[in-house]
Symmetry: C2
Subunit: 268 residues, 2 copies
């Protein structure tokens, strides 16, 4: 039964008016005291998916305006901008306690249909040790609690698991839902925002790295099993980092790419 | 006199009501029969810049819903979402003839101010021949006319100037305004959408590649002079390409990054 899984019950939304949806932000996806941004986005994605005629979030951009509030309801307003044959586009805002937390602009399509020529280029999957040989994520390196570990099984490359150990601004590893739910195109955006910030590998623990904006492109329906992930920051200037991420499914197929603008404010 | 330059006069907007702006889409920025998407975006950026208290478009995402109409007026609606101390966020739509053409979500900041730690990472500038030794762009390879060449001086790497010649999905070169206007943070988004699509280098001429969505991160105020550019597609699946771009100023500093989702529909 699909709705027995945490991700489904804790991102569920119900329609309360035309273009208005209500959800409940659980505290179990927190990073420290704040709900994870990818989790908040996932609730908005559910409202978008319920509105748009296409199933797959092929392009989703989120601006994070304020932290979310755990264990509190949220309202999502969705405005359809265009509904075409192969793509539909909408914008959404997620608010809590009367304040807008997220602004989203997204286009959905159908990744089971080809959109053009059959040429194929893919970034190859990283060469990772097996999940059993990777290091389960813990909050110790950041000095924070990670309630989200009750929801996600996250394994870090053993040479990147300690802050400052990688020698470059890169983090990689494996991720899946802890309760056995398989990933799908609507849960991949979450996985692009739930690893430690990649500058940890270079700079050591640097405290909370607020995300200003996250754009996720879902590229393909994932096969069942672990998702491999790699995040790299090649561009950090004046405290503004631009991190690029990619996800691969258990067959080695590239299933999503992401890019986020974040702030690296202080060394801890 | 700044307003003597084509870019300034042809992206100018005037306020016609609260949150409503009007501009005129010139035909001189066309690719074939359609206004270049980066040019349409630049008109929306002017309306955003006139609305928001911060000067620099640090994150701008545009969904291209329909082609624009050359030599016709446009209306831009801007809605401020949040105005904070260091960042302000708004969404905008650009319409012509009663139909929405572009939907934009953007955050502006001030790139003359540091936002955090002083660590610096940068993607190094590509090793390009001097502009004089590069090949001026022409529409011949695509079999289309390029009125935009009356506005932009675009020089392609000599080994990438012919479609299919590069052997990989990459295009690089130099760009500047043809009338001597210097680039600034508000004109850099244009330059991320005015080179030939990078799959040309691998697949040969492939006709028009419609952009679904373009996200531009402006990273730094550019120094005067030529802008170096490189665009690479490492991810092309089922006709959907994800192209990553970067711009460097004449001092070799990384000034912008971009990523666009486009459709590669047919070989010509």
């Amino acid at each position: 039964m699909t709705d027995a899984f945490h991700f489904d019950t804790e991102t569920a939304v119900e329609q309360i008016a035309d273009g208005r949806w209500r959800g409940q932000i659980a505290g179990d996806w927190n990073i420290g005291d704040n709900p994870n941004g990818g989790y908040l986005l996932s609730v908005a994605v559910q409202a978008l998916a319920a509105t748009l005629p296409h199933p797959d979030p092929v392009s989703t951009t989120t601006h994070f305006l304020r932290p979310g509030v755990a264990d509190a309801p949220c309202d999502i307003e969705v405005e359809l901008i265009r509904s075409g044959r192969t793509l539909s586009t909408a914008r959404a805002t997620l608010s809590q306690q009367g304040k807008t937390r997220l602004a989203v602009l997204a286009s959905f399509g159908d990744l089971s249909e080809s959109a053009g020529i059959d040429a194929k280029l893919q970034i190859p999957a990283p060469d990772l040790p097996d999940p059993a040989d990777c290091v389960p994520r813990s909050g110790d390196a950041q000095g924070i609690t990670l309630p989200i570990l009750s929801r996600l099984d996250t394994r870090l490359h053993p040479q990147q698991a300690l802050a400052g150990q990688a020698g470059k601004a890169e983090v990689s590893g494996w991720i899946r839902f802890i309760d056995g739910r398989e990933s799908d195109t609507q849960s991949l955006p979450l996985f692009t925002d739930t690893f430690p910030p990649s500058p940890f590998g270079l700079l050591g623990a640097i405290g909370w790295v607020p995300t200003i904006e996250l754009t996720v492109h879902v590229r393909r329906k994932p096969a069942p099993g672990w998702i491999a992930a790699r995040f790299v920051t090649e561009d950090l200037q004046q405290g503004r980092m631009l991190e690029s991420g990619a996800l691969w499914d258990s067959q080695g197929e590239l299933v999503a790419q992401s890019r986020q603008l974040g702030l690296v404010m202080a060394r801890s």
